[in-house]
């Protein structure tokens, strides 16, 4: 998967709501599904992290315009949100 493809897949997952989220992500942050969806949809760059084979999505924003960074795992074609940072 190339960064461009990863970004397109993430944006698509945000639009369709077809993604999973690790439980610790929303227990740690007061997040809603909608915020994660917006962050995926509005991400502008995807960077592969070779150390854990995950993707870092940058450039996303929540509805208040705050910058959001999302770390995702691509597992059998399904995005799994593994970390979420506001104002990284």
């Amino acid at each position: 998967v190339t960064p461009r493809e990863a970004l397109a897949l993430a944006q698509g997952a945000g639009r369709t709501g077809q993604f999973d989220v690790e439980v610790h992500v929303f227990t740690k942050h007061r997040l809603t599904r909608r915020t994660v969806q917006l962050a995926l949809m509005s991400a502008t760059d995807a960077f592969h992290q070779p150390e854990d084979d995950r993707w870092r999505l940058e450039g996303g924003k929540d509805e208040d315009g705050k910058a959001i960074r999302v770390i995702v795992d691509l597992e059998d074609g399904v995005f799994v949100v593994t970390a979420f940072e506001v104002d990284p």
Binding site: G17, V21, E22
Partner: protein
């Protein structure tokens, strides 16, 4: 198997049981966005039903649980976007009828019913507006 899920709805915390999360390849527990949505809706319904008058934070959470933007919620409630924004930011800006209208939207989505926009008032083409006669001053 089920697990206990905690949702923060504004100032309130709702504990619910959800279906067992799956274990990812890296050994973490994960749920689908769809499961997450159901838990959010149930939490929002619980708070809007049980609390006499919620505040803006809870209203914003309820809108998120409906997966709606402010303009979308405004359309469903027949108000302006500015009004919804004010409700969400000003703690005591709306009353119980608004809360009940949002609760109804949540319950309809939860039951799987489609949400339709309220009918707009229309004026027939042959409708003639006649000004009332002005009061005559003595």
């Amino acid at each position: 198997m089920s697990y206990t899920h905690t949702t923060h709805v504004g100032r309130f915390t709702v504990t619910d049981t959800g279906s067992e999360p799956r274990t990812t390849r890296k050994g973490e527990q994960a749920i689908s966005a769809e499961q997450w949505s159901e838990l959010e809706r149930r939490a929002a319904i619980t708070v809007l039903r049980e609390i006499e008058l919620v505040g803006g934070e809870e209203l914003k959470f309820a809108r998120h649980a409906l997966l709606m933007t402010q303009p979308e919620l405004a359309q469903h409630l027949g108000v302006t976007v500015e009004t919804v924004s004010r409700w969400e930011h000003d703690h005591k800006a709306f009353g119980r009828p608004v809360q009940l209208a949002v609760l109804e939207l949540l319950e309809r989505v939860h039951r799987g019913e489609p949400l339709t926009l309220p009918k707009q008032a229309t004026v027939a083409e042959d409708f003639v507006l006649t000004a009332l006669p002005a009061k005559r001053c003595a």
